[in-house]
């Protein structure tokens, strides 16, 4: 029960931080996806069921604040959580560099799917901005990941 409360508390803090991210911390107009990092890091430190429930919750929170009709983040976060779980059963994810690479891969996948979804909706995005939102945002997410990993590890301990 205490763990659940801690996870929910961190989820709310991260969602608030994501929504009120200071402009001076933006890197090339991008910000890290803190909720995605938390969702993936939960798979490394907690039971998959807990991670999946949190992925759905995080996705719902994110979807509530973006102007898309479909609950795309709820679907994607659940999928990334499941893929990370499958991957961690195939390879060792104890090494922090491996975890960073997984976060980077998930961020690239998430941003690519989001970008394609937006383009598919008939919207126009210049190539430079499209690539920036995929690559730089994903790298920034991976760079910010160790801080969230530490936080998740503390909750799990």
């Amino acid at each position: 029960m205490k763990k659940w409360l801690s996870i929910l508390f961190v989820l709310i803090i991260l969602a608030t931080l994501q929504l009120c991210w200071p402009t001076f911390l933006n890197f090339f107009h991008t910000k890290p996806d803190l909720l995605l990092i938390f969702v993936v890091s939960l798979v490394f430190y907690f039971d998959f069921k807990i991670a999946l429930v949190c992925a759905i919750l995080a996705g719902l929170i994110k979807d509530a604040f973006i102007p898309t009709e479909l609950a795309i983040n709820t679907l994607l976060f659940s999928l990334w959580s499941y893929l990370t779980f499958r991957l961690s059963s195939q390879i060792s994810t104890e090494n922090s560099y491996v975890r960073l690479v997984i976060i980077l891969a998930m961020a690239v996948l998430n941003n690519t799917v989001m970008g394609i979804y937006i383009l598919n909706s008939g919207n126009f995005i210049p190539v430079g901005i499209f690539l920036r939102s995929i690559l730089i945002a994903s790298i920034y997410t991976a760079v910010a990941a160790p801080l969230i990993f530490k936080l998740t590890k503390k909750i799990a301990a």
Binding site: A15, Q18, L19, C20, W21, T23, H29, T30, K31, D33, L35, K62, F65, I66, P67, T68, N111, M114, G115, I118, S121, N123, F124, I125, P126, G128, I129, S133, A137
Partner: protein, 197 residues
């Protein structure tokens, strides 16, 4: 030594107070200009504060602290003292979601103020907007002012959108496009005005 510590502590407190005062002074200036604009404008306006921003890099939106309780409904145009900011896409009791003009799903029917040339202004997630569907012989030049047209179903006619900073040819070669710098600084908006039709 004790006196030194006490004075250092006092300096710290005074610095923090000075910082707060500067912040209040800036806010005061912004609100004064907002009130002045509201009083002079013939439009019925509701002022609101930006409380959150879009959580991802794929959309450009903000959350404001006014909602249905203050008469704000979906589809209403949002401006600030500098120009057009966006439109309300969702409104709850006390908050509303505003889609900014630089969101890629935005399409604003606009005209060049000087030549009355029509075009569609789209967001591009970047700091500039793109005015598309301009004919090959369009009467448009760098520096021209872009305003909303009366064809727009959402925005009232004549709202300042921005200024042309570049003109180019579409990939197909059939039409031209113009890069428009929005008049409102979208990256740092703190207070906005919602137009009540």
């Amino acid at each position: 030594m004790v006196e030194f510590d006490r004075l250092s502590n006092e300096i710290g407190i005074l610095r923090a107070k000075l910082f707060d005062l500067r912040e209040i002074e800036q806010e005061n200036a912004r609100l004064k200009s907002l009130i002045g604009f509201k009083q002079k404008s013939p439009l019925l306006l509701v002022s609101a504060r930006v409380i959150a921003r879009s959580p991802d890099s794929w959309s450009s939106s903000v959350i404001i602290d006014k909602g249905k309780y203050n008469g704000i409904k979906r589809g209403m145009a949002v401006i600030n003292t500098q120009g057009l900011v966006g439109r309300v896409v969702e409104s709850a009791e006390n908050i509303s979601k505003v889609l900014l003009v630089n969101d890629p799903s935005q399409g604003i029917s606009s005209i060049v103020q000087r030549s009355r040339q029509e075009g569609l202004v789209n967001g591009s997630l970047g700091s500039n907007l793109i005015m598309r569907y301009l004919p090959e012989d369009a009467q448009i030049a760098v520096g021209d002012i872009i305003i909303t047209s009366e064809l727009s179903q959402v925005y009232p006619k004549g709202l300042l959108v921005g200024r042309v900073v570049n003109i180019g040819k579409e990939f197909s070669g059939l039409s031209r496009y113009a890069v428009v710098k929005p008049s409102a600084d979208l990256s740092s908006i703190e207070e906005v005005l919602v137009i009540i039709p």
